[in-house]
């Protein structure tokens, strides 16, 4: 079964501090991994996909196949980064997305 694990339910950091959200996935072939963000009362929005290797809003995520991890990082957190973050794995093209439990990030001024 596809499993995505986010061990931290809540991360509280001060503005300007680094933040890292952990995500581990169960091994099964070539993973397609994503980070979604949900700001207060808004829809789930795609933040990053591993295939793009891009930086969005200062966030980056590196796929580590050896550790089966896809941690999300930002060197300097901003107050507007406060949100729920979900790591997700796509089973295959057109198939379902399996979400981790989510991590709430709270950035304090």
């Amino acid at each position: 079964a596809q499993r995505v694990t986010q061990p931290e339910k809540l991360l509280s950091v001060f503005k300007g501090a680094p933040v890292e959200l952990k995500c581990n996935y169960s091994y099964s072939g070539s993973p397609e991994l994503f980070w979604y963000v949900q700001y207060s009362r808004q829809r789930l929005q795609l933040l990053l996909r591993h295939i793009s290797r891009e930086s969005i809003k200062g966030f980056t995520a590196d796929l580590n196949k050896g550790e089966t991890s896809f941690h999300l990082k930002k060197p300097f957190a901003q107050e507007e980064d406060s949100a729920m973050y979900y790591c997700a794995r796509l089973k295959a093209a057109g198939n379902k997305l399996t979400f981790g439990g989510g991590t709430r990030v709270l950035v304090k001024p």
Binding site: E32, L90, A93, K96
Partner: protein, 114 residues
């Protein structure tokens, strides 16, 4: 940028009643999904739909649930006889279905069963 739209944003119903949650996926997408999120819990997969049929469903998606694409634009989720534990946010999503195509989500419908 095109978006997935869901109506209503909030639905209150009595236990035992039927509800239909509506979604308009992004127009050129081929794969459609329903997810739900009970308050304080993770986002859970309910069902995926492709080529006018269910391609996968979870254990949650029992006989009380059904999906339909009645007119080529809408994608509906029907709960035949609601239970208290059906109270949740229900998210519709669509995808182009190509390799690494992400799912695009709607704003969700908050269903409250009293």
């Amino acid at each position: 940028e095109p978006e997935v739209t869901q109506t209503p944003s909030h639905q209150v119903t009595q236990m035992g009643q039927e509800v239909i949650l509506r979604c308009v996926p992004i127009s050129n997408h081929l794969y459609f999904y329903w997810y739900r999120q009970i308050l304080g819990q993770k986002v859970e997969f309910l069902v995926s739909f492709y080529n006018n049929e269910i391609s996968e469903k979870s254990e949650i998606f029992d006989d009380q649930f059904s999906v339909e694409r009645p007119d080529g634009s809408n994608f509906t989720l029907k709960i035949r006889s609601t239970k208290l534990e059906d109270s949740a946010m229900y998210f519709c999503a669509s995808s182009a279905g190509q390799i690494n195509s992400p799912l695009h989500f709607g704003n969700g419908t908050r269903l409250t069963v009293t």
